[in-house]
């Protein structure tokens, strides 16, 4: 299912939480939504889910608006950062509820996943640990066989083994049933591993939206040592968009045609150099740094 967001604005009184966001997500892919704290990710996710009505713009799933559209919503599932279950609900009771609500509910999947994760289906879910509650939420969501899954901090609280199993389940549905996943997270390393594309939000705006393969083909990190530091022409020529200089060692992020970088670098006779792919964390830090959101040290008294 295609997810198309056009010029979406969402405000809380005078505060704009989401500002003029455009986003297109290809069906059968996983999209990572990154951003600083308070960037508007959760608000955006809730707007995607149709919980909030956009002040302007539209959220379309296969060209149909999601807000108050039961047909669309029956194919979309949202797992909140803290999974919700009714008071005193057990996994079986929640399954009964989901069964009545989601038309594509698979009892077979539910039984299979419950057995696999070894959860007691008759235990009060709200009495379980954070990780187990999240497992339960995944069991319910995956059993509903949605076409789009919206996940807010999906792996928070899961141990590494379960985390991997959940990822595998998601990837299976993406591969086999063309499911689209949009996940917000602060764990960039994890997003880097499983996402096909990422976008970065800051102060309600979408700063950046790219396929990860595209990022890796257009961005790289250059570490280079000189006898004598070169002038600005060097940085301009290699297409450096960000640089840090420590003594005679220069580290810069290069954007653009990275295939010719080595040729351009050797012209300046460096003592040594290394061209490295950018991690998602570096992209994040760089993009956010451009907007003045960067790591600064503070020494407390």
């Amino acid at each position: 299912m295609k997810v198309y967001v056009r010029n979406v604005d969402k405000s809380f009184g005078a505060k704009k939480a989401v500002s003029n966001v455009d986003l297109y997500i290809t069906p059968g892919t996983m999209h990572g939504l990154l951003g600083s704290n308070g960037a508007g990710k959760t608000t955006f996710m809730k707007t995607l889910m149709g919980i909030y009505k956009p002040d302007s713009g539209e959220v379309m799933f296969d060209e149909k608006s999601v807000y108050e559209n039961t047909e669309m919503k029956s194919e979309v599932i949202f797992i909140q950062d803290i999974p919700f279950f009714f008071a005193s609900a057990t996994l079986n009771k929640m399954a009964e509820f989901y069964r009545g609500i989601y038309p594509r509910w698979s009892e077979k999947r539910f039984q299979q996943l419950t057995r696999h994760f070894k959860l007691d289906p008759n235990q009060n879910l709200n009495a379980l640990s954070k990780g187990m509650r999240r497992q339960a939420s995944f069991i319910l969501a995956i059993s509903s066989r949605p076409k789009v899954m919206l996940l807010d901090e999906p792996f928070d609280g899961l141990d590494p083994i379960i985390r991997q199993q959940v990822k595998n389940l998601l990837l299976q549905d993406i591969a086999s049933h063309n499911m689209t996943v949009i996940a917000s997270s602060h764990n960039l390393r994890e997003m880097e591993d499983i996402c096909d594309s990422v976008s970065i939000m800051h102060h309600g705006e979408l700063l950046f939206n790219r396929d990860l393969s595209e990022i890796k083909g257009s961005h790289c990190k250059l570490q280079i040592a000189f006898n004598q530091l070169p002038d600005d022409d060097f940085f301009e020529e290699v297409g450096a968009v960000h640089k840090t200089v420590r003594g005679r060692i220069v580290t810069c992020i290069i954007k653009g045609d990275i295939l010719d970088v080595e040729k351009k670098v050797t012209k300046y006779n460096p003592l040594m150099y290394d061209i490295l792919p950018l991690t998602l964390e570096e992209i994040f830090t760089y993009e956010m740094g451009e907007k003045g959101y960067e790591i600064s040290n503070i020494i407390v008294e």
Partner: protein
């Protein structure tokens, strides 16, 4: 049809039903106790209930049905609050609104669950009552049970709808509870506070009144929804009001769908959904609190106008803080200067309008020509303590006087009262003057003064109201219209003695004799008739009209009417009836200047009165002679011979004018 089916979501209905099921069970248990069980217990102890509590059969049924509806209203409120609680927490609100269910379906599920959980227990109790009625010693008809079932169900459903509706204005359970109390009782509380405050500043405001429907508070009390709903389970049932409230319920139900469609989930963490509603409520409730606290402070401090103003300012401040604590759900409130200033300015404007409005209200006196008829009640002149209720057994003219001269006199007396309405009232001084005008255009004007001025001119104006024509208007027996409904006539004295006239023939004979002798018995001094009506003697009739309900009417009667004297004398000695034989002192006096004499008797303490007139204190032998004369029925209002005897049941009161001779002593005229 498709639209209706889309509103039905069985999963959500099951969910909401499961969440509130135990509240419904609790209500069912309470209903079992308040109706079937209590009725059975009452039936088992019927003798005791009748004799000890004086309840009648249908009073028990109605009372228990009302008690049941009281709990039913609380249940409906709690049911709605807990069913709607899903919108109060972000996690569940987000979850519910992420489901593939339209808001219309969610709200429909809320209403369906509410209606089911209300109707099922009511139906269950009705079925039990249908069987139980056969074992009760008193009558409980199918009709009564069916009426109770329908009425209780409708009233509870309306309560439920109103509670759901108010839920759309807040996102906190505690504030939801506050809002439903505000919705139900704010108009009553506001109006009550305004009237009480105004009545402390002005005289002439009928907060409570002996005239039925004439007070300013009753209409609001009677139309306050819970009060109205509970009184519907009685003889006071009003089909029109029920229809109006049902229509209101349907309109509110429609509006609640509209509000839900417009509701923005993102404000789930705000106490109020609409900040404008919050600020308007804050201003109104702060003013309400200001009136209450200001009045209490003003009363406790009882100072001059400056103290009163300070009391209201402090009342406003205290009230503002309390309201903010409630609305912010914390005692550590965040004061917003702008909102505070708006609230203060609103209070000042309100008080300006308040003063001007009540000033104009209490000083208004209608023009005599525009008055069609008038009812007057004064504690001093013209009429008696009677309750002025317009019962169906009485003629339309009962207590209503359309004589132009009397209307003129009333307007004149009213002018004196109105002129003094804003003057400082004297603590402990009471002289009641209540008036109800029916205007030519059909409208009514009521005023009730507690402190009629005691200037000579004012009292003279009041005395003008004393006439045979008015005596006729206020006489209970003369104005009975439906004789066949009567079951008893009671003649009672202040001492507690009562003579009963039962049986159709006896009652008719008494009424005919009373009527035929009325004119002659009213020819003498009306002061004596009034004084006996007010302090010594009254009449009461009992009648059955609808169902088994017994109705009573108290009213004026003429002690000097031969029919009264004869009837009492047949049962007991008249001196015993009047408690003359119990009096500590008995005086006699030949009245020379009756106007002054009776006026002094009404207003002077006995000691002063006695020293002014040098009354003859009767010795034992003389007392016995007088008692014999009275027992022989020789009462008279025109002989000029007055007997005054101490009131054996008098207890000193705080009221300064309650010390006057007319309260400490009784007076009768004898031949």
């Amino acid at each position: 049809m498709k639209y209706l089916t889309s509103l039905w979501n069985s999963t959500l209905i099951r969910h909401f039903m499961g969440q509130t099921f135990w509240i419904a069970v609790l209500y069912t248990v309470i209903s079992l106790v308040t109706l079937p069980l209590s009725l059975w217990v009452a039936s088992s102890n019927m003798g005791n209930v009748e004799n000890v509590l004086g309840f009648e059969n249908n009073n028990i049924v109605q009372t228990l049905m009302q008690v049941n509806l009281f709990f039913g209203i609380i249940f409906a409120v709690m049911l709605a609050i807990f069913t709607m609680n899903f919108k109060n927490r972000e996690s569940i609100s987000d979850f519910i609104h992420s489901l593939p269910v339209k808001r219309g379906s969610v709200l429909s599920a809320v209403y369906i669950v509410g209606i089911l959980l209300i109707t099922l227990p009511v139906l269950f109790i009705s079925i039990i009552l249908m069987f139980e009625r056969y074992i009760l010693v008193f009558d409980l008809s199918f009709g009564e049970i069916f009426f109770w079932m329908i009425n209780t169900g409708i009233m509870m459903i309306i309560t439920y709808i109103l509670t759901v509706f108010t839920g759309f204005f807040t996102n906190k359970l505690f504030i939801h509870l506050q809002l439903i109390v505000i919705l139900f009782f704010l108009p009553l509380a506001m109006w009550g506070a305004m009237l009480t405050t105004a009545s402390m500043m002005y005289d002439g405001i009928a907060v409570y009144s002996s005239m039925r429907g004439a007070d300013l508070l009753s209409p609001v009390i009677n139309n306050t929804f819970p009060v109205f709903a509970i009184t519907q389970n009685s003889d006071e049932f009003s089909l029109m009001k029920s229809i109006i409230w049902t229509v209101v319920g349907i309109v509110i139900l429609s509006i609640s769908y509209f509000l839900y469609m417009k509701r923005r989930n993102e404000y789930v963490n705000s106490n109020f959904t609409y900040s404008s509603v919050r600020y308007v409520l804050s201003v109104i409730i702060t003013i309400l609190g200001m009136l209450i606290l200001g009045s209490v402070l003003g009363y406790v401090l009882s100072g001059n106008d400056v103290v009163k103003v300070i009391s209201f300012v402090l009342g406003w401040l205290g009230s503002y803080i309390i309201v903010e604590m409630l609305f912010q759900s914390t005692v550590k409130i965040d004061i917003k200067l702008k909102a505070m200033i708006i609230s203060a300015i609103s209070a000042i404007i309100f008080m300006g309008v308040f003063y001007a409005g009540w000033n104009s209200y209490t000083s208004y006196v209608p023009v005599a020509e525009s008055v069609n008829s008038v009812m007057v009640y004064s504690s001093d002149e013209g009429s008696s303590y009677t309750n002025f209720e317009n019962k169906e057994i009485m003629s339309d003219d009962y207590l209503t006087n359309d004589n132009p001269e009397f209307i003129n006199d009333t307007v004149e007396a009213h002018k004196y009262a109105a002129e003094s309405s804003v003057e400082e009232v004297r603590p402990g001084y009471y002289r009641t003057f209540e008036v109800a005008y029916k205007m030519n255009d059909g409208s009514m004007v009521y005023r009730s003064f507690d402190h009629y001025p005691d200037s000579d001119e004012a009292l003279q104006a009041l005395q003008q109201l004393d006439s045979v024509q008015n005596l006729r208007t206020t006489d209970l027996i003369l104005n009975i219209e439906e004789h066949e409904w009567m079951t008893n006539i009671m003649l009672s004295s202040f001492s507690g003695e009562t003579v009963y006239i039962n049986g159709e023939d006896d009652m008719n004979r008494f009424i005919n004799n009373y009527k035929s002798a009325f004119q002659s018995s009213a020819d003498g001094r009306l002061d004596l008739v009034d004084l006996s009506s007010q302090n010594l003697f009254n009449m009461e009739i009992e009648y059955h009209h609808t169902g088994n309900q017994r109705e009573y009417i108290y009213g004026n009667g003429n002690l000097y009417n031969p029919a009264v004297i004869e009837t009492i004398s047949e049962e007991m000695r008249l001196s015993e009836f009047l408690a003359l034989d119990e009096a500590e002192r008995v005086y006699e006096y030949e009245v020379v200047n009756p106007d002054v004499f009776y006026n002094d008797f009404k207003n002077l303490p006995m000691e002063t009165f006695n020293s002014r007139y040098e009354l003859t204190l009767l010795e034992q032998g003389e007392r016995e002679d007088i008692e014999e004369e009275i027992d022989a029925g020789n009462l008279s209002t025109d002989s000029g011979r007055a007997i005054m005897f101490s009131n054996p049941y008098y207890y000193p009161a705080d009221n300064s004018n309650a010390q006057s001779a007319q309260y400490t002593h009784f007076i009768i005229g004898i031949e």
